[in-house]
Amino acid sequence: MSPADFDKRQIINDNTVKNITRVEELGYELTVDEVMTHTVKTFDVNIKMSEVLEISRQEHISGAPVTKDGALVGVLSMEDLIRCLYVNDLDAPASKYMTSELITVRATDPVVEALKIFVSTRVGRLPVLNKNGELEGILTKGDITQGLLDALQQDYASEELRKYRASHLFEDIESDRSSLILRYNIKQGDFTNGGAASSNIKKALLRLGAAPQLARRCGIAVYEAEMNLIIHTTNGGVIRVEIEPHMISIRVVDDGPGIEDIALALKPGFSTASEKVRELGFGAGMGLVNISRCVDEMVIKPSLENGTLLKMRIYLDQSRIGAIEPD
C-alpha cells in the first residue's frame, strides 16, 4: 500500500469495500498514539542553532518540535538546519529557521488521517497533540510503517495460534475416545448453496491439521453426497461428519424417496436426474462412483419407506482399514 492509495480512495462504497486490504483496514483501526514515538525531544524556541546541530548529532535525531513555555510553536527539521548551515548563521535562535506553520494530528486520530497529511503536504514528521492541544508525541512515516508491520505480525501470530490450537485439539483434550462432530442441514433444491457444507468441512479439516490430499478426498465425497441431497431428495437431509484422530466418519441421511435400484445407481453414468438438472451439469451418474473412489469404506442403505442412509469412512491411519459395522 502506498499512501497515495488512501488518497485515491476517498469514497468507499459496497463495490470498493471488498478491495480493501488488511493493511488499509489497519490504517483505520490503528490510532496515531498506538504507533507514534512518545518520548519527544523538543527544542526551546530560543535555543541557538549551533546547539541544535550539536544535540541532533549526539542524539541522532533528524528533527524535533520547538516549544515556547511548553507550548508547541514550530518544528525544526534537518532541512531547516541545512538552510542555516548554508548561510553560516549558527548563532541564530531556533525561531528563525523553524517551520512555524503548524500541521499536527490528534493522538486519537486513525493512522489513515496522518497518512493523508503526509501525502498532501511534504512534511516528514507530525507533532501529535492530545485533546487539550498539548504535545504528546511525534509521528513519522517510519513510525506508521513499523506500527503496521507490528499489527500484521500480531494478526499472523493469532492465526498461527488458532491453527495450532485447532490442530492440537485432540492432544489437548483427554478422553478415552474424543471426536468432533459437524452437522449440516441440506435443503432440497438449494443449488445456490450447493457445495457450502463440503467446502466448510474441507476448511475445518485443514485447520485441524489434516493433510491437504485427505481434506480434498473428504471434500469431494461430501460434495457428491450434498448434491445428491439437493437434487434427489424430497425434503433434503443431514450430513454428519465425525472427526477422530484416526478416522473421519460421514453419515448422510434423508427421508425419501429412496433408491429404487441400488445396483443401477452405483453404475457409472446412470442417473435419474431431470433434464433441467442435467442442463446445469449435474446428473452425470458419477456421484456415488466418485464417493467410492474417495473414501476407504462406503455403505449405502436404500429404503423406499425410510429414505437412504449413506455411510462413509476415511482412515487417517491406513492400517486400520476394516469392515464398516452394520447399523
Binding site: K18, N19, F191, T192, G194, G195, A196, S198, S199, K202, P212, R216, G219, I220, Y223, E224, M227, L280, G281, F282, G283, A284, G285, M286, G287, V289, N290, R293
Partner: protein, 114 residues
C-alpha cells in the same frame, strides 16, 4: 507459463477481482460440463474449461483447488457467482469462443491433460 500469458494469448476476460495472474501457473487442464466428471477428472492447480456458468462451478473449483475456470461460448455467471468466486479466491475467465477452440489453444501453449 502463467495465467497472464494465457489470458493475453487467448484474449480472455477476467470477471473476478483483478489480481497478479503471473503468480498462477496452471499445471494441467480439464474440460467438461458435467460437474461430477470434473470432480473425478480435474487435478489440483489445473485449469478447467466449461460452458457452465452457475454458482456451483465455484464450489467445484474451490474443492479441487483449481487455478482458474474458463467459461466458454459467451456464457456469463451472475453477480452472486462472481461474488462467491471472489470470496473463495477462484479466478473466473470468460470468452465467446467454444470449448474446443480454447482447449486447442491451451494445448498449443503446452497445457496438457493430467
Amino acid at each position: 507459463m502463467n495465467l497472464e500469458d494465457i489470458v493475453q494469448k487467448l484474449d480472455l476476460t477476467l470477471i473476478t477481482l483483478s489480481k497478479d495472474l503471473t503468480a498462477l501457473t496452471p499445471s494441467n487442464g480439464y474440460a467438461s460440463d458435467l460437474l461430477s466428471c470434473v470432480m473425478a477428472g480435474a487435478e489440483e492447480n489445473g485449469i478447467w474449461v466449461t460452458l457452465q456458468a452457475h454458482a456451483n462451478i465455484v464450489a467445484v473449483a474451490a474443492l479441487l483447488g483449481l487455478s482458474a475456470v474458463i467459461i466458454t461460448e459467451g456464457a456469463q455467471p451472475d453477480e452472486a457467482t462472481i461474488e462467491k468466486a471472489n470470496q473463495e479466491n477462484i479466478t473466473l475467465l470468460t470468452t465467446s469462443q467454444s470449448t474446443f477452440h480454447i482447449v486447442g489453444k491451451l494445448w498449443e501453449m503446452g497445457i496438457r491433460a493430467f
